[in-house]
Symmetry: C2
Subunit: 323 residues, 2 copies
Amino acid sequence: MNYKIDNLQYCNWSREVFEINREAGLDAVHVTVVYHEDYKEFQKKVEEWNNLFKNNKDLIFLGKDFKDIEKAKNENKTAIFFGFQNCSPIEDDIELVEKVYESGCRFMQLTYNNQSLLATGCYEKNDSGVTNFGKEVIKEMNRLGIVVDMSHSAEKSTYDAIELSQKPIAITHANPNFWYKAIRNKSDELLKTLSDSGGMLGLSLYAHHLKDKSDCTIESFCEMAARTAEIMGVKNIGIGSDLCLNQPDSVVEWMRNGTWAKTKNYGEGTKEKSGFPKQPEWFTDARGFKNIENGLIKIGFSIQEVYGILGNNWFNFYKGIHK
Amino acid sequence: MNYKIDNLQYCNWSREVFEINREAGLDAVHVTVVYHEDYKEFQKKVEEWNNLFKNNKDLIFLGKDFKDIEKAKNENKTAIFFGFQNCSPIEDDIELVEKVYESGCRFMQLTYNNQSLLATGCYEKNDSGVTNFGKEVIKEMNRLGIVVDMSHSAEKSTYDAIELSQKPIAITHANPNFWYKAIRNKSDELLKTLSDSGGMLGLSLYAHHLKDKSDCTIESFCEMAARTAEIMGVKNIGIGSDLCLNQPDSVVEWMRNGTWAKTKNYGEGTKEKSGFPKQPEWFTDARGFKNIENGLIKIGFSIQEVYGILGNNWFNFYKGIHK
């Protein structure tokens, strides 16, 4: 059995988006439920999702473990796995880790760009690694089965997380920086350490992480995938598109600024180009998985390897979470 | 005019404590209002304090600036200045800095032992200094007139705060580590940099910060004060007793553990001695200011210098806050 999984989307959710994901053949999507929200605000997001599940039950349902990916495949639906891009919903309370797990959380970034109570984000000047509270939280995430996600974290913090976590961790959405030196893209050494520990990298389709940004070619992307497979092994890479379909530009502004500054921050953008960047034309939504499939075959991956990258590798990773 | 100021107390507040502080002649006390509380919980503390002010208006009132210290002196009362031992009440929201100022906050530690969103605490393994959010918050504290307090912070973070803050900062309650190597006590170099920038050190009377702890002698304490004055200048030191009068041991446990760990942390104590340490017999409450006065004269300070240490230096520091 082969699975298709997009391990990071943050779309403006609607029936249309779920239909597109079905058309793309996605059996599972890891969706970002919160960026800067606290516990109470996360609970509101869960309510919103419960309505989406109710109104689109022919298309989606809440995924809790790998069996739900098998179920989704059988029922021609997409299993939705909840994740956080920041640790703000657990506030400063270790007990909330179990609470968010019970509400469906299966992935949590320890940081989003800035310093958090758990670790350092990639936009900070210095990186002190995983904190005292962070160590406690990783233990709890391991116990429950919430994946440590370091996509937006600084490098030492990521090495720390790999070492501290008793289960493999993930970088759900980023690219290697040998290809394009975005602040958020990762070094060869880090990716090697990640895969040596059983961790996964989800290749991102967000223009700010791509060589030549919106003009990135499918050939260039697939060459990058081939080189990354050489570094990490072909079984440790998947897709985490970071797709923000139908989101207004106010959302990316809020992602970058939250409530932490009086001055405006442009993150990966600039003052002149502060909105969401244009998607490359071969991946304007999840139906672009087909273009990636063709591109990966063309670059020389075997069909089994291609299926691995498009979903089976993530499926196997999910299988390991609750072991 | 001479003023007596204790620039850090966290007592189990009652009429009895306010009477003792009056008996000690304290014109002002900087009180800890919160440790780990969030904004809403801080507001509850403000309500509790409003009741204390109402029920003890012959003894205390809320202090807002140095003029309230003069007023307290004239009216034989103690002006109470609010402070935070952690930045948790501002959560992740820059707008809350002004809100807490409006509610009376005049001192805020950027961290309490562990990493915060603003800086690193003294109990972390690594210290990345003041964070992106921290820089924004310091600017806002400077603008409003909230003193940056680094008593429980790690060293690089403290150097950063001194450099970033456009107003002098304070270490309201700690001692030099040449005298006693508590984790929280400070190096000569740091203290020198602090005083060069116009900052203040409040000498602590908490047994875990004292040489020989509960058995510390008044002579030893005053010798330390004399040596510290040589390092920092006699006008940059005061008293911040860290007095926790009448607090049950459950409170020190909560200070150390908050809600961040499933395992118990003993901080400066041990599993065997986990409660509040015994105060040295010459400072069991604020009336011990008299013993310090005598001790400082005996060690050779001039009477004006002694008055400076017992309160005038803090008074002058308060005077500079809203300039």
